[in-house]
Subunit: 768 residues, 2 copies
């Protein structure tokens, strides 16, 4: 997802790729067992720099799996040429690989999103004369090192080495200063978020607590929320104080105020300070190579909770212990999937992708269980499990939750419980929830396929009746009072959403409703609600209204019932606005009816026409690998007998072309792990291409052997194994599939059958 | 006191005076006893509009005697022509009589000062469509009414009548709305202070708590302090929210943010907000003439204390009760001095002046006794008595504390205790203390004469030994580490302060040190510290260094020991800078040696030369009635036998010329009551012209009879009575004085003798 991006997220923009890891497929499983295997753990394969340029918007910061806290080197402001700076263009990441100007560590960040938010509480070490102006105090950075839960760099300007690591809700930084005057700055005025305003209070010379406003995600002015923090600095200070940029005054009076419009230092003020652009400074006399440790706890509930989080999670622990614990947590999670065969680069992109799928949604509640409820401003307490936040559901409903369901079912269960609780709190299921606020970003009703998919796969442990009530409310509430489907009046009465404003994304809206209603119909069936099932199923076929025989694509419909004219199905490329379609053109949406592929094919005149047209999308580069609507296009070939090889071919081509062990190794916004989950599934050889349908399309894996360590209590077995047999690296076409040692016919397997089989074996060949 | 004022505080600027109340003296005591006397109380005579223009910088707001809270109609921003607006010129008052554009009530204000500060927490009622921009939402105001503890006006634009009253630490406002949509705004971004930054938190739809930064008094960037508040609105709201002016962004990104640089409404955000320019709005549906009550408590310690102050002081009380209690407190205090005879206008200026002397210093501690200590950032608790704040000591050491000592001794005692506690906290006695911060405004060591004067008059109840230690520290600590006397190195080694920078006010500094050292010498004598007494006395005569025979005035001395040249003793008029002198010229300072008038006269060649030269100051209008250094000049004639009539003549002339029952009825900044205390004493016929010396110069009173109700426990008697006998209104010259019914010789009486006598009688005549 990427809103109104004015630039094409081109994979060729930055020529730093180390080349495709898929350029030659590896087929060495039983030939060359890696001798390093015993030593190199999954965590060692993660390259946290993948996706940090080319609009991947991931970052190399220190974070725990699904952790609230992340500590990211912030390098997108204050540089001389400003090329990658946050205010020079649409910008949505605190870190860009090609930028070199470091202005501190931002605390609590988003990964892979398309809009700017969070990325604040900027912690910066400097030396010499104090400057609090980020345009002055930044430094280049070198010697960057990143591994899960750890990041380090060196600041040549100051001769400072910096290191950071994290617990789920807290951070710890260690700055190695040279001898002399040293400073630590906490900048609360700047950051990635466009929201401003903060308050900070001196508790002692070494401890500060405060609050900063965040929000306006995707330029939604109302999606505002606070972050609370406490910061402890472990060193004897020589002086401490605040700064605040003074509001510019005009007129005669302004002449009297020498600080007018400037950063003013508050050298002797000891109570709390508040303002748009404020910060805290601490001065030290340091010895050569003296380490100063800074610990920070955060909370979205209160400063007290931020302190409790810090006290609890870091109690008695030093930097090394915390770093090691973070690493171990990652290794444990990443080891849930073990891969064999494949090159180191392939393992790297795989485990990095898996790493990226375990960043968001992340936990929200404090160690005492408290969390801000959705949109109410109230605080509640978790009795058990986790409360999650950062639900980028228009993206993640497609594959992230399916991956979590299979491999990390307890997390998925808690996420579904969270979504149902959000309905209880706010009256609506989430759409794009961010730290207790509904940002209403993107369209559709994406909670439905997530919950239905989870339920139909047999994952239980939440109140499905309330969930159904919530989903039904979203599906049936008419008019503008429907916060999830604001155009439901049209949709309910016409079966589609007509184009009422030039760029109202009407077709995209309706296509999402069809998918959601199809999923809801499946659940209604499962729950024995036949009438509902029939109604929602019928609705889900309304996509047919949009099919234009003339163009062979979907096409917006005007309020008078006629197609929108003049019509150019290609309009919408490069993030240009397109009537009826959001972040794409008609080609990127026309095949997006995963719940009725055969029906769509029939509309198009049958298999041959469908397949030819779909192949054209790839051949003419109408396919957008960087955005969600068409990411399951390659799998559609597999619905048609004899054309399944196209799925295998296109997937291998796309993986090879767009995913690399390099900073530009993701073709666009990772979208809180959606692009990465796509890669994880497809590298393993199966993909959930119809959200809400408990099934996967099978394709040829990249690895020789994949072992998914399952939750036996949930899935009834310890492992799901995927094996590949091939003769040479170019063998990418499926010759034969066995499941549970029995020949498997077809290219689509139900979740239940897959788990019953327990072992999937692909025999590959070099041509189709 | 008025710092660097770019305009002459001319009494002719605004031609709205109702004419001098002293134009014809009244002499009717035994002729026409006022028949209204029995009904009209002292409180009824107060005209709170006196001093509200002509730079008097008083205001007509609601306040209790020495109360922390004041509620003032804020009318100095946002008007179309901006003539009297705070940012259009040097400005130091929240209210100006000739301004008509009302933008709300400011809470906690200064009265009579020369620098902008406080005057924030702006509470504004409006109707119709919500606007949060003060440039839009202001209204003209009419039907202003003010009496001690109460103020009311009408807003024609909205049809709203507003009323406010106060308890010592809380306010209550009542807005009478018309039928329709109504709004209440609390603006935390604007105000008189130049400091910005605030935080406010919604407790419920009807209650808000928060903090606002205040300070930078007299453009001291470090004198910053917070005010805490809680606001309760007694009406059912239809909506509530915040606003914040968005920081202007530039660059491409700015284009995406529609609120960029604008006031943004936060319609659904329910946690706290912080920023430079924020506020709270509440919407109501009101019936015709519906009253909405808004209660506010403040504290300089915490929001919790603000709430406790509100709960305690307003418990169970409605608007009328609170208004009546405030009025009764004022009447009780003002009735300590009863005057008879004199016109209503004379009584009005008298009681208004007395009212103005009872505004500052004001109490600081909360109802639970807590207060912020001076400069430490710590909180302490009063066990008994009051902690005071707002010590404009360069002004008030001259007469305000002398008036309090005589008439309100318990307050003066608590103020002295406060000053000694400030030394304990900060290490230095106060100079210009403001809500827990030392602003270091103006020069000298003014706590010394205040404490010495109090002690030598016999008022006890504080630790004089610690006080002496503190005073001695200020007098003897060398070098720049002396925070009260930064040029003490020069002063101690040379006996004067040479001019080291063009506008370093060196002569003014030294003259203040002489006075302080003389007072300290008197106390040393009283405490039996003979060597100290001798040393400080000797120092106090160092003024002689500055006397230039050539000019007959004081004249700056250069570091090489020579007089500053070229020299113009008139330079310094109209607040132009003057080498060596602060807010005045050589003429305004040359006679300011009240502790050695005879010595100065000797320097000048004896009585004749002294008197002639002093008379010239008046005749050539070199006397500045609007500033402190020369305000005791008229009394100096009385040191010389045969010339005492000049004191009487000049005082009556000055009172008649500069003090009126009119908004421009004070000749310049009231200086937290100093101009008013001057008037109170002189209208009664005696004046403490040498701070630190327990004595008064006698002059002819304005009233026929003055009864000061004394604290018998303190002064040994219930009343001090001053009677005047005259034949006709023009009888202003003293023919004969009796004290305690005995003939009194001379024109200067000790405090002790005055109180022993108990009754002072002036027999006046028409010519000298």
């Amino acid at each position: 997802m990427l809103i109104n991006h004015p630039f094409k997220p081109s994979h060729t923009l930055l020529g730093i790729s180390r080349g495709s890891v898929f350029a030659a497929l590896v087929c060495i499983a039983f030939v060359l067992p890696s001798i390093a295997k015993a030593q190199k753990q999954p965590v060692d394969y993660v390259n946290a720099f993948i996706g940090t340029t080319n609009f991947g918007t991931t970052n190399p910061g220190a974070v725990c799996p699904n952790g609230l806290m992340s500590v990211v080197p912030f390098n997108v402001m204050g540089s001389a040429d400003n090329k990658f700076d946050k205010d020079a263009r649409w910008w949505s990441t605190p870190y860009e690989y090609n930028n070199v100007y470091f202005t501190g560590y931002s605390h609590v960040n988003l990964s892979g999103v398309g809009c700017p938010d969070l990325g604040s509480l900027l912690l910066m070490p400097t030396t010499g004369k104090l400057s609090v102006d980020y345009k002055e105090y930044g430094s280049t950075m070198t010697e960057q090192k990143a591994s899960p839960g750890f990041y380090s760099n060196f600041l040549p300007r100051y001769g400072i080495r910096t290191e950071v690591t994290a617990t789920p809700r807290t951070s710890i930084a260690r700055f190695w200063f040279p001898k002399g005057k040293s400073n630590i700055l906490l900048n609360l005025g700047e950051g990635l978020t466009n929201e401003t305003g903060a308050m900070v209070r001196r508790v002692s010379d070494n401890e500060y607590e405060g609050m900063k406003l965040l929000g306006t995600f995707c330029y939604n002015p109302q999606a505002v929320f606070p972050i609370y923090f406490v910061m402890r600095v472990e060193a004897k200070t020589t002086a401490t104080g605040y700064w605040k940029k003074q509001r510019p005054m005009t007129g005669v009076e302004a002449e009297w105020d020498k600080d007018n419009g400037q950063y003013k230092l508050y050298t002797n003020y000891k109570k709390e300070i508040a303002g748009d652009d404020i910060g805290v400074y601490l001065n030290f006399d340091t010895e050569e190579n003296q380490a100063v440790v800074v610990r920070m706890g955060v909370s979205f509930v209160s400063m007290e909770n931020a302190r409790e989080n810090l006290n609890t999670e870091q109690k008695g622990k030093d930097f090394e212990q915390i770093r090691d614990e973070a690493r171990n947590k990652w290794n444990k999670d990443l080891s849930k999937i073990e891969v064999e065969g494949g090159t180191d680069d392939q393992k790297t992109v795989f485990y990095t992708a898996l790493y990226h799928t375990l960043l968001h949604p992340n936990i929200l509640q404090d160690v005492n269980g408290q969390y801000p409820t959705l949109e109410t401003g109230e605080v509640k307490t978790m009795r058990e499990g986790n409360r999650y936040t950062v639900f980028s559901l228009w993206d993640t409903y497609r594959n992230v939750h399916q991956l979590l369901t299979l491999v990390y079912p307890n997390r998925q269960k808690d996420m579904v419980k969270t979504m149902i609780d959000m309905y209880r709190e706010h009256g609506w299921l989430p759409k794009w929830e961010l730290y207790g606020r509904e940002t209403y970003t993107m369209e559709g009703d994406p909670s439905i396929p997530v919950i239905v998919d989870t339920w139909l796969k047999g994952l239980r442990g939440y109140d499905i009746n309330t969930a159904y009530e919530a989903m039904r409310k979203g599906a049936t509430t008419p008019g503008p009072q429907n916060l999830l489907r604001p155009d439901n009046d049209d949709y309910l009465s016409l079966g589609y959403v007509p184009l009422r404003e030039q760029y109202d994304n009407s077709v995209s809206h309706a296509l999402e409703y069809y998918i959601a209603d199809n999923a809801l119909s499946r659940l209604a069936t499962a729950l024995g609600k036949k009438a509902d099932a029939q109604q929602f199923y019928k609705r889900s076929l309304g996509y047919r209204h949009y099919y234009s025989k003339e163009y062979g694509t979907f096409r917006p419909i005007l309020p008078n019932g006629k197609f929108y004219s003049p019509f150019n199905p290609k309009q919408g490329e490069n993030f240009e606005p397109s009537p009826g379609f959001h972040e794409g053109n008609a080609w990127n949406y026309t095949f997006y009816v995963p719940h009725d592929v055969m029906g769509l094919a029939k509309l198009m005149g049958g298999q041959k026409n469908f397949v030819e047209k779909l192949q054209t999308v790839f051949d003419k580069e109408l396919y957008d690998p960087a955005n969600e609507p068409d990411i399951a296009y390659p799998h559609l070939f597999s619905y048609f007998k004899g054309d399944e090889w196209r799925t295998q071919k296109e997937l291998h081509r796309l993986m090879a072309k767009y995913f690399k062990n390099a900073p530009d190794g993701i073709p666009g916004n990772d979208d809180t792990g959606t692009m990465s989950a796509w890669l994880v599934f497809n590298m393993m050889g199966f993909y959930p291409d119809c959200p809400g349908e408990p099934a996967y399309t099978l394709s040829s894996p990249v690895f020789n052997r994949v072992t998914i360590h399952l939750d036996k209590e949930q899935w009834g077995r310890n492992e799901l194994i995927i094996e590949t047999k091939c003769q040479q690296p170019s063998d990418i076409y499926i010759n034969r599939i066995t499941l549970g040692n029995k020949l498997f016919k077809g290219y689509r397997v139900s979740h239940e059958d897959l788990l019953k089989g327990g072992k999937l074996m692909f025999e590959l060949k070099g041509s189709h």
